[in-house]
Symmetry: C2
DNA sequence: CTGTTAGCGCCTTCAC
DNA sequence: GTGAAGGCGCTAACAG
């Protein structure tokens, strides 16, 4: 509280002078190794007190320089705007902290230029490992890390420059498609009315999900209609437009819809909010991803949720046994949204 | 790409040796001050090439140590789980980057112990400024920063240990309450049926919003019913329960509701999703905060949105003219949700 | 048990 | 134009 040295940060020299001991003694006391050096308890106490009085705070820059360890763990992701990325960030932080590392997460807006510059900055801060999430092309970033000798792990989108851990998009899509088909059948509707909307053609996650969607139909020997899959992009507006077109053509909403992302589902909500309740209440709808609001709309939506916890712990496991030549891809199963919800709702202070 | 020095990070010494020049020349070239020292263009080019070839990357630890500038800008916030905090994080990052600083944002789960330890860590990394958002009691954190001579700014929740920038909760609440009252009157309902649900008694934002709610009624000379305000907490479950109790007592939903936070509104959605459409479609409802799903439900919700952009730029302005004795509180007006939406919807790759 | 010393990688005078 | 030297704050031998 009472900082004698106003403004100027105090160093171990200041506290050595103040206590009449030497810098090495101070250093030992301050980083806890003093018992091993049989330093008098009283000296230690005096040093600790003085440190507090001076508002001392280790300079990790100097320590890192000396030890060549920064204590920083980095993660880049596109943004925090949906629960998946927000969850990744949060879980990463918790895990990093529990390992005694300081988490540094940076959003890059999916801009390759920003991505590269952020990675360089993080590298120059000497992060000890770097998770790269949701980046379209991780290869150049992995190369940067490799050149600096820093382990990098690709998360959510795999790359061939480093080991990766991703959700089992294909398996998940297959599972949710199965559920939707069953629901359709239960309602006496034809399964081939089910369509998959959203995502970007050629993009990894999209292709995997399309494959899973197909798998479900193949397994039942049902032929897919040619226009059953429409990868209209990841933003809400284009999903809404795509839906509007189909609505016009059909004269009503498709009876089964699987939205490829939470934003595509947002587009669905936008569109249907203008329709009468009757127009949509009978539709069977699913969404590959989860959101608390979406989960509680007044009609039934089957939502798939990615297992953020496992994704992050697998990524750390990969980092622990890091091998520059490792290119393994760990697949993490998805689960249906309902399973997670209880834990979610009772959290305090969630504002 | 071809890093000759496998694993080991290269230093300016490596590149000095490789190019046959001296470390100071290398240093000057690498940080752009070489034109001022009349260094041969060819030398410069040779050095730059060599740097690239060796995968060189400045060691900010060393540079920071020498220059006593880390190039880091820190921000702590509770979590990224809602659009307000996600937006704060994002805007902070953009702004920090545009100032040539590397943004470091850390979530602290509203745990005072974590908050303190994160701030200490950030301080020990020598961040050049620190924004403290959504922290119940910022004072001890401000004290830590002050002792280290690092400017800290409180965001969202003010404190008396540093300057603050917060949303105009009171003015916003007054404005949205006015709108809801008008809607109620337009529907021939009595304005005193309007209730305010959510928040925590004694907490700054809650109290401000309650005050604004009262202001609106006072201005019209309408008396508030004793149970018009219920601060039942910030989580969805308790809002849902509070609502359920009122529903039981009244035999129907209150005809006007202002939810104090997005999570409280989530509770509202949970509860009403079990009711028939008729039960809620006539209710006048508002929410202090914004969410894309909430914004497009099939009934009309008036939503207030905090101006994240202005909050952050005001905070940076405060940091620029930082004065340790400054305790000013900057109030940032809120706006109604509709105004922001167009920009939001056309964003690409929003997955 | 405690003090002295030599760098960690970089930048900035100051000579040459 | 370029090289040598000192030091930022800290730690880990190595001497006392």
């Amino acid at each position: 509280m009472a900082s004698t040295t106003q403004g100027r940060k105090s160093t171990i020299y200041d506290i050595a002078k103040a206590t009449g001991s030497s810098t090495s003694t101070v250093s030992m006391v301050l980083n806890g190794t003093w018992t091993r050096y049989r330093i008098k308890e009283e000296t230690a106490r005096r040093i600790l007190d003085s440190a507090r009085a001076l508002g001392y705070n280790v300079n990790m820059k100097a320590r890192g320089l000396r030890l060549s360890r920064s204590g920083l763990a980095g993660m880049v992701l596109p943004h925090y705007r949906n629960r998946f990325f927000a969850g990744l960030a949060q879980t990463f932080e918790d895990e990093a902290r529990s390992r005694g590392l300081c988490p540094v997460v940076v959003g890059t807006q999916r801009d390759p230029a920003v991505e590269a510059s952020v990675v360089e900055t993080l590298l120059s801060q000497r992060v000890e490992l770097l998770f790269i999430a949701g980046v379209r092309n991780p290869a150049p970033l992995n190369a940067l890390c490799a050149a600096a000798g820093v382990p990098s792990i690709n998360v959510d989108l795999p790359g061939d420059g480093a080991p990766s851990v991703v959700s089992d998009n294909r398996g998940g899509a297959r599972a949710i498609t199965d559920v939707l088909i069953d629901k359709l059948i239960a309602r006496g509707e034809s399964p081939d009315a089910l369509i998959l909307l959203g995502g970007i053609p050629g993009e990894y996650a999209t292709e995997m999900r399309i494959a899973g969607f197909r798998d479900a139909f193949d397994a039942r020997g049902i032929a897919l209609k040619p226009d059953a899959v429409e990868s209209c992009g990841y933003n809400a507006a284009s999903a809404r437009n795509a839906l509007a077109l189909r609505h016009d053509k059909l004269g009503r909403l498709p009876s089964g819809l699987l939205m490829n992302s939470i934003t595509a589902f947002e587009g669905f909500v936008h569109f249907t909010s203008k329709l009468s309740r009757e127009a949509w209440q009978s539709a069977v709808v699913g969404c590959f991803d989860w959101d608390p609001f979406a989960a509680h709309l007044s009609f039934d939506v089957t939502m798939l949720r990615q297992d953020v916890q496992t994704i992050i712990s697998e990524a750390f496991a990969l980092a622990d046994r890091y091998d520059p030549a490792d290119r393994s891809v760990v697949l993490v199963p998805t689960a249906f949204g309902k399973m997670f919800e209880e834990a979610e709702q009772t959290r305090e202070f969630d504002r």
